[in-house]
Symmetry: C2
Subunit: 424 residues, 2 copies
C-alpha cells in the first residue's frame, strides 16, 4: 500500500519547481541590490516565542500552530511565520551590537499553519520576507515597501494595488483606541462575542472582524488618521513623499490595521487586481513594529518588514498570464550505437559535464530511434551521435537541433568545440 | 526575558550564510549539468513512511525521530532523511509513468534527528541528496558517484577518499547472510545484546556494531565479495570500469555495508582525510536500493542515490583551509550632506538598485565622517558624495575606492555611467 502525502501539503516537482527557483532568485537578487542579507533560522522554535511574538490571542497561535514536545519535554512549535524567529535571532546573537546598522535581513522558507486546506492555501507554505531592524528613518519604510513592489514588478506583475496606512505612535494609538471604545461601546451587544471581548482588550481588531463587517458602525468608526499627533503625521507624510519620489504608486486606506500592540506607524498591503485571482487578493503584508524587539527580550529597537507567500505570488503570475523566462532543455544529448560506443559515451558525458555543459544520454538500453526520441523530449540543443565505427575513426557526428546543421568533429577537440558553440 | 534558540539547532547568519549559498549553488549547478532536477517535499510526513522506508529497527526511527500528532490525530514525523520522501513522491505522483526515464532528482533542505548535540552535529541539519530512479545501468551508479565527487572537487576539496563496495543482488546477499550467521553463531554470547538480536534478523548489521568492533571474529567475517554471483560480480566490475574511465579514484572496502534489506549492489562513502577534521570522517553516503520503491507501495523500480550534510561539507572545507570565492562589498555607497541632498539620496539609491546596482546609504543620520566610515565597513567599490550644493548644480562626486580616483558626474548620466563602470 502506498503512503499519502500529509493533508494540506504538496510536493513541488520538476516542471513546476523551476518557477519557484526563478521567483526566489529574482527576490534574492533584488535583496542583494538593496543590501538585505539572508538569515536562516530553525524550522521549529520554543512555542513561547510565537505566543509572545505573534500574540496569544491570534488565530495563528490559538488554533493553527503545530505544537509538540520533544523528547526532553520542551514545548516546540513549527514556525507559523518568520518575523518572530528573525527577531529572536537578532536578540540572541546580539546583532544590535554589530557595527553595520540598521540590520537588514531576508529569509525564505517553509511556514506551517493548521488551516482547512483549500485552493491555494496549504498547511505548509513558503514565505519570503525581509526585516530592517535598528532605524526609524521614514526612508527605510519606503525602501522596504519599494523592495516588495520591486520584486513583483521585476517578475512582470502589473495589476497591483499598494495600500498604505499609519497606525501612529503609542500616543496616537491610545487616543484612537479611546475613540474606538467610545464609538462601539453603546452598541457592542449587537456585535459578535469575539468583538465584545476585543472592545476593551484591543478594539482595533473589531475593524478586522469578518462576521460584523457589514454593521453600520464599521463604516463610521473613527479613523486613525484623525488621531495621529504631529510627529506621527510628519512621519507618515515623509514615507509618502519618498514613495512618490521613487515613482511607487499607492493608495492610503485608514481601515488597514494591524491588531497587535507592538505595531505602529507604517502598515501596508499589496493586492493583486488581476481578474480571476480569487477572493483572497492580498499578496504581501508588512509594517513597522517598533515594540517587538523589546517584547522578545531585546533592547528597544525599531523595526519594519514584510512577508509574502511564494504560492500566492505564483498564482498572481498565472492570473496575469505571465510566462517566466525559464530555460528548458539540455545542451547536449549523446546517442550511441554499439557496445564500445555505449561505454565510451559514459566517459564522454562525464567530460562534457565536468566542462560545464549540461548533458544527457540514454540509460535504458534504448535502440537508436528511441535515443533520438529521448533527445527530442529532453529538448536537446545538440545531439552527438557516436557508433563503434566513428569511435575507431576517433570522430563524432554533431547535429544542431535548431538549424539542422550536421558536422563531423574529431573526438580530440569535441569538448572544446562544444564549449565554443555554447559560448562557455 | 529573551527566548533561546531550541537546543541542538543553529541560526545561519550573514557572514556565514554566504558559504551555504555558494556551496548549494555549486551543487545545484552541477546537478543541472548532470540533468538532476530539484524536488521539494514537505518537512513532515506520515510517520509510517520512515518506519517503512528507513527501517523500524534503526536508531534513526526508534530513538531519533521527532514525532507528533496533528490536530486531526495523524501521526507525523519531521523527516530524518530525504530518500523516503522522494520515493513517496515518486510513487504518489506516478513519476514512473513519465516519459523521461530514469527519473533523476535532487533535493536540499533541513532534516531532523533528536541526537545528543555535539561539535558539528545538530538536531536540525541540511542534507543535499540525489536519487536516480528507473535504471539498472551500472553507468548510473558511476554517474551518481562521480556527481558527488564532482561537487566536492568543484569546491576545491582534495583530501578525499572514495570507498565503494557491492552488496550484490538478493541471491548473493542471502548466501552471504547464511555465511555470516554460521560465522558468528558459535560465539554470539560474546557479543552485545544488540548483536545477539541482529544475528538472525540482520547479521550484516553486526559488522556495523560500535561496541563489538574489536572482537576477533569481526576481522575474519566472510566478505560479501566472496559471495557475489556472476551477475553481481559483472555489475560491480562495470561500475568500477566506468569510474576508472572517468578518472574517479576509489578503494574497494568489503566491510562497507548497508543494513537494510532493500539495499543491494553498489554502496559507497566519501571520507575526508584532512587533518583535524575530527573523528567522524564520512562526508557522504550512498548506494543502490532496488527494493525501496516497492516497499513504499510503488512498482518494482531500481534506484540509487546519495546524501551529504552541508554542515559537514563546510567543516571539511575549513579543515582543508579552503577559502570560497565569495564576493563581499556593496557596489555603491551614497554619502549625503544637507537635508535636501539626504532626501534626494533616497531617490537616487532607488534608481541605482532598480538598475541592478547593489547600493547602500546611511539610515541613522550619521555625520559625513560616520557615513564614510560606514562606506568602508560595507566595503564599497564606489562612494558617491552629494551635498545640497552639488544637488543644485545637478552633479555628484564619485570616488573609486580601489584606485582613489575621483570625478564629478552630471546627475543626468550618473546611473548610466555607474552601469558602464560596473560592466552591467
Amino acid at each position: 500500500m502506498s503512503i499519502q502525502i500529509p493533508r494540506g501539503t504538496q510536493d513541488i516537482l520538476p516542471g513546476e519547481v523551476e518557477k519557484w527557483q526563478y521567483v526566489e532568485e529574482v527576490a534574492k537578487s533584488l535583496c542583494h541590490n538593496y543590501q538585505y542579507k539572508e538569515i536562516r533560522t530553525p524550522i521549529f522554535e520554543a512555542s513561547e516565542l510565537f505566543t509572545r511574538g505573534v500574540g496569544d490571542t491570534t488565530d495563528i497561535v490559538q488554533k493553527e500552530m503545530y505544537m509538540f514536545e520533544d523528547q526532553g519535554g520542551r514545548s516546540l512549535a513549527l514556525r507559523p511565520e518568520g518575523t518572530a524567529s528573525v527577531v529572536r535571532s537578532f536578540v540572541g546573537n546580539k546583532m544590535f551590537g554589530y557595527p553595520n546598522q540598521p540590520t537588514k535581513l531576508f529569509y525564505s522558507g517553509p511556514m506551517f499553519r493548521y488551516e482547512r486546506p483549500q485552493a491555494g492555501r496549504y498547511r505548509q507554505f513558503v514565505q519570503f520576507g525581509v526585516e530592517a531592524l535598528g532605524s526609524e528613518d521614514p526612508a527605510i519604510d519606503a525602501e522596504v515597501i519599494s523592495l516588495a513592489m520591486g520584486i513583483y514588478k521585476e517578475l512582470g506583475l502589473t495589476q497591483l494595488k499598494l495600500v498604505i496606512n499609519s497606525l501612529g505612535d503609542a500616543d496616537s494609538r491610545n487616543a484612537h483606541r479611546e475613540a474606538l471604545i467610545n464609538h462601539f461601546k453603546p452598541s457592542i451587544d449587537e456585535f459578535c462575542g469575539d468583538c465584545q471581548n476585543r472592545l476593551e482588550k484591543n478594539p482595533l481588531r473589531i475593524l478586522d472582524c469578518k462576521k460584523d463587517r457589514d454593521h453600520e458602525l464599521m463604516g463610521t468608526a473613527p479613523s486613525i488618521l484623525d488621531y495621529l499627533n504631529d510627529e506621527s503625521k510628519n512621519y507618515f507624510e515623509k514615507v509618502q513623499t519618498h514613495l512618490s519620489d521613487m515613482d511607487v504608486e499607492f493608495v492610503v486606506d485608514p481601515t488597514l490595521v494591524r491588531g497587535l500592540d507592538y505595531y505602529n506607524h507604517t502598515a501596508f498591503e499589496i493586492m493583486s487586481e488581476a481578474e480571476g485571482f480569487g477572493a483572497i487578493t492580498t499578496l504581501c503584508g508588512g509594517g513597522r513594529y517598533n515594540g517587538l524587539v523589546q517584547m522578545i527580550g531585546g533592547p528597544e529597537t525599531p523595526g519594519i518588514g514584510f512577508a509574502f507567500s511564494i504560492e500566492r505570488l505564483l498564482s498572481a503570475l498565472e492570473a496575469e498570464g505571465i510566462e517566466l523566462p525559464i530555460e528548458h532543455g539540455v545542451e547536449c544529448f549523446i546517442v550511441s550505437l554499439g557496445k564500445e560506443a555505449k561505454d565510451y559515451s559514459v566517459k564522454l558525458l562525464h567530460t562534457l559535464r565536468a566542462a560545464g555543459i549540461s548533458s544527457e544520454k540514454d540509460y535504458l538500453d534504448r535502440k537508436v530511434k528511441g535515443q533520438f526520441k529521448a533527445a527530442d523530449r529532453y529538448d536537446a540543443k545538440y545531439v552527438a551521435v557516436i557508433g563503434d565505427n566513428e569511435l575507431q575513426e576517433n570522430k563524432i557526428n554533431l547535429k544542431n537541433m535548431s538549424t539542422g546543421e550536421q558536422e563531423e568533429i574529431s573526438l580530440d577537440h569535441f569538448v572544446e568545440k562544444m564549449k565554443n558553440k555554447l559560448g562557455k
